[in-house]
């Protein structure tokens, strides 16, 4: 009787694992098929070199670069904002803060990641942009700067929390060794603990980048819908994700070339985040070996 019960449990666990894998593969398959159809009509070369993205206009251009630049620009701003803050927080919490403080602040920080992104998007549009316009008068109502900054706020806990985990996992024996050599707290933190946790910190940064690249709501609301190949953070742009939302919600006919652009854009996005995840997986594996 007990055996049968165990068997049922085992099989149902196995089948849910298989379903997950099947769904993932299915998504990738659909992406790939639709993207393949798209590329049978638009050359890959044009896709990667054309500097305009106007599939919904009469004069159509299918250059992904403007969307890509929009995605990278907002992500870059987000990381540039979140990295120094997130790292400082993690080092403070792990190396300086009293235990009780650390215990209560960490979950609070993680709340930042739990705020619905639509709230962040609105926050960027109706609070941050008007505020920044006081400082930068020619800032457009939609721009990558405020979207990027607010996205940065959202990903701070990815960096601070995961980096703090990595710093905290560094054995105390290394802190003792460093203090025993006559290091100050600051030297111990930056010359011993941070380097020792570097792989974990890098993984946290990669995950944060990955999260920023895939973020949709904030950029769709606050960064605009104007594909534009630019590094200017003050003007409206469009990211890959925002474009996908725009077309999905619009009245483009299913099965048309315009419709398939979202799969081409989607697979580009997928390749990026896949590469980043693979990279973080590799680093994490190497990191594990080091301490075993």
């Amino acid at each position: 009787m007990r055996k049968i019960k165990e068997l049922i449990i085992e099989k149902s666990l196995l089948s849910s694992a298989l379903v997950t894998i099947a769904v993932t593969l299915g998504i990738i398959l659909v992406l790939a098929i639709e993207a393949f159809r798209f590329f049978s009509e638009v050359s890959i070369f044009d896709f990667f070199t054309d500097t305009q993205w106007t599939p919904l206009f009469t004069e159509k251009h299918f250059g992904i670069l403007p969307l890509l630049s929009g995605t990278l620009l907002t992500s870059f701003i987000a990381i540039a904002f979140a990295l120094p803050i997130g790292l400082s927080i993690s080092i403070y919490l792990s190396e300086y803060a009293p235990k009780a403080f650390r215990k209560s602040v960490k979950p609070l920080l993680e709340l930042l990641a739990a705020v619905p992104t639509v709230v962040y998007g609105f926050f960027a549009l109706v609070v941050v942009t008007p505020f920044l316009q006081e400082i930068i008068p020619n800032l457009s109502g939609f721009n990558s700067l405020s979207a990027g900054i607010v996205m940065g706020i959202m990903i701070i806990p990815y960096i601070s929390s995961l980096s703090e985990d990595a710093l905290h996992a560094v054995p105390d024996s290394l802190r003792e060794a460093s203090f025993g050599m006559g290091s100050t707290k600051f030297q111990t933190a930056f010359k011993v603990i941070v380097p020792a946790a570097s792989s974990g910190i890098i993984v946290s940064i990669i995950l944060a980048i990955s999260r920023a690249i895939g973020e949709t709501m904030i950029v769709a609301i606050a960064a605009g819908q104007q594909p534009r190949l630019t590094l200017d953070p003050t003007v409206p742009i469009e990211t890959i994700t925002a474009y996908i939302v725009q077309v999905s919600l619009g009245d483009v006919q299913h099965g048309s070339l315009e419709y398939r652009t979202i799969f081409a854009a989607g697979i580009t996005l997928f390749v990026f985040t896949f590469l980043l995840n693979t990279l973080s997986y590799r680093i994490r594996k190497k990191f594990q070996e080091k301490y075993e």
Binding site: S173, L174, E176, A177, F179, G180, M181, G182, S183, T184
Partner: protein, 275 residues
Amino acid sequence: MEIIMEKPIKEPKILDSVIDTSLKKTHKIAVNGAKVWYGDFEAIKGIDMTIKANTVTAFIGPSGCGKSTFLRLFNRMNDYVDSFRMEGKIKIDGNNIYKKKVNVEELRKEVGMVFQKPNPFPKSIFENVAYGLKIQGIKDKKFINDRVEKALRQADLWDEVKNDLKKSGLALSGGQQQRLCIARTLAVEPSIILMDEPTSALDPISTAKIEQLIFELKKKYTIVIVTHNMQQASRISDYTAFFYMGELIEYDKTKIIFTNPSIKQTENYITGRFG
């Protein structure tokens, strides 16, 4: 002659009155009325002791009697324990290291420490040994190279690692790692080296190497070593201190402690008839 070996000490109370810790210039370390608490728990219950320069002193005693706590008073490593509190004076070269003005970082350059479990940094062998110099702001490459080589030679590790100084310190064997930690400590040229059970995690051959090393090092350094290994204490130390429940029970020349201890508890402990 040292006061501590004048007569067999019958009781710690006698020890208190006999030793005038403040006046002895030849004493590298002088402890005066040291008491330690962790919260309400009194871990060290008033100890007086002097340690002479260029000797090896062994601390022995049952687990939990306060050997590590007492040893870590000498480089103020207990300061990191939140509940730690101490009373009394610890003088090194005549200066009380628990005075307010004392720069703890400077103190630890004078008083190095080797820990129970080898704890090299996850850096290259070279960077491990150069670490103490670099945090002092020393930039001179040649100076650092020379010191690293010298320290590795002193720690009897040079020949084994000279061709792969760039290799990670963690890639070495346990015994090599511990010698690396010793080299790392030697590189900053302290005058005192504290060792807390430095061989307890090592195999017999590595242990023998480190014992040999300690024997060599005492020409230049004052060494205080905590050990649970009675043979080790008798082989390598000049003086042995027996602790029990936070008190210094007997402290004398190692030969005397191991052949003719004057207190019953000491005898019971070293003969293994303890508790």
